[in-house]
Symmetry: C2
């Protein structure tokens, strides 16, 4: 996930191609980046047949019983990387640590059920601070019907909050990144950009209702939550689905104060859902948006892989979509 | 878990009583200690009826399907707290991070199934280092048939490896800390003490086979893995089961080089299983120890709560058992 504003300025213009990463070129984290690291971890990992989808999606999909598959995901927040004490309240830190995990389950079309929380706590933190942080976790857990069932407590130099989440999804119905098809319409569930500056990233509400609605009524082909910026996360869908995409510059919904479409697509931590529907269903959703949910903004189309991942602005030549945030660049 | 040798010397002679902790006395981490913090987190947490056992055991027990319950646990390793780069190899760091989680599932009598791993990686680490660390995780995962299915990657100032594990156990058969009864014999699966000095804590093999054998053949009343030292972990069983215990000084199995029984009981990170069997079954296990498993050392007895937690040495007055390691004292 993107959490460091300052990291954006240092980005190289182009990300290494997927095939370069898989060919094991590059020997430092900076060279291979987060994408590259995750690809390698995927190669290092072992899995048996009970793993229906392993490393490389918002959550792993695991064979459960006859009715349900299980979803397992984890996300870690680190002081001075993902938040600063003083800027974020302890309540917000707790809220966010849990909310990002609920968002991962929503992005799979699942229902979040149970959490474990491991913390590294500096000696300097008061019990009051820690209590407020856990109250933030509890507040968002209650709101989404999730149980905090365990974890680990340790001393550390900096505050670390590491959450893992267990969810469930009807058997065979998990929405992966890999199902997008040429012709699908790309939607996003809300405005983009500026989440870090506005503080939304600390208080956001995971789009669980929208996810449940979409899964029950529309069966999205692919879905992801926007954590590293649409530019980066759309590319993940495209890589996993072996397709390309064209976004419409004019259709991108900007949050208040976001100066440009480029920033809206490059900023991370929106935690909106980015999903793909076949054209007929897309027209139906656009024509009859449900009350009290969404919004659902159509922002582009899935195209054949050969066309790449582009953004189209009226009267101009299509441009390659830039990149969002990478933790290691 | 106990991982800091130097922490031992600073321990206060007595731990706060459980009722003091629950009464909310104490306002700093140092005052309430790890026990106290976990008790409070338990009060802060929310749980519905699908949580059969929440915070306060080695893993949470969650309602699964008709045949299986689910187990969920998490453990975090932090550089300079739980290991030092240079002293521990990257392979060992990876091994240990996963092994401590497998040990948690073994302590519940379950079968470990799936892992998620969140890491905080300093820029200074080479890709080679990270690769070796993941190879350590893979080696122990393979040995125990566990799948590495996902996680999170981040930058950090110090290396953090945070693992969560999902396991399963036949419905209603999880072995809790709370089932010990007066008259039970207390066993431990191996020598105690010196794990930190000998490096065993980095390379240990979780006692999964022993756990499976015990659960199938003996149905232990209570079980825990020795992470903070027998003195501390036996107290956890006693608190949860509302019983007391008497250990036999002469029966404590010392690892080579461990200077005293006190050290053997106070040192942490043995990762042996500490479990309680009713007298008849205990006699059967002692008389016919299985080949290729164990050892199974009887070290004491569960007694009524009013007798406290004591150690008995021949020809001396029974003494209160000291304490093991607490992260925050």
């Amino acid at each position: 996930m993107k959490r460091e504003r300052e990291g954006l300025e240092g980005l190289k213009p182009g990300l290494m191609a997927w095939r370069d990463i898989l060919s094991n070129r590059g020997t430092t984290l900076k060279e291979i980046g987060e994408f590259g690291l995750i690809a390698r971890i995927g190669k290092w990992a072992r899995c048996d047949r009970s793993v229906l989808c392993g490393i490389g999606d918002d959550a792993a999909v695991l064979r459960g019983d006859l009715k349900q598959d299980l979803l397992l995901a984890a996300d870690m927040l680190i002081e001075d990387r993902h938040f600063r004490i003083g800027e974020a309240t302890p309540f917000e830190i707790g809220w966010k640590a849990v909310a990002v995990n609920i968002s991962d389950i929503a992005a799979m079309g699942g229902v979040p059920r149970h959490l474990v929380v491991s913390v590294g706590l500096p000696d300097s933190l008061s019990l009051d601070f820690i209590g407020r942080m856990y109250r933030g976790m509890r507040a968002v857990s209650r709101l989404y019907g999730v149980n905090l069932v365990g974890g680990d407590t340790n001393r550390a130099d900096r505050l670390v909050v590491s959450v893992a989440i267990l969810g469930e999804v009807p058997r065979g119905r998990a929405v992966l990144r890999s199902g997008a098809r040429a012709g699908d319409v790309i939607f996003v569930t809300g405005g983009l950009g500026g989440s870090y500056r506005s503080g939304k990233h600390l208080r956001f509400r995971p789009r669980l209702k929208e996810s449940r609605f979409l899964v029950r009524r529309f069966g999205p082909h692919a879905m992801i939550d926007v954590s590293d910026g649409v530019a980066s996360d759309l590319r993940r869908i495209c890589e996993a689905s072996h397709v390309g995409a064209v976004l419409s510059h004019e259709a991108i919904p900007l949050n208040p104060g976001v100066p440009s479409v480029e920033r809206a697509l490059g900023d991370g931590e929106d935690f909106e859902l980015l999903f793909c529907l076949p054209p007929g269903k897309a027209a139906r959703l656009a024509a009859h948006p449900p009350k009290g949910l969404g919004p659902f903004h159509p922002i582009g189309k899935i195209v054949p892989k050969s066309l790449g991942v582009k953004i189209l602005r009226e009267g101009r030549v299509p441009r390659d979509l830039g990149e969002g945030f990478d933790h290691f660049k």
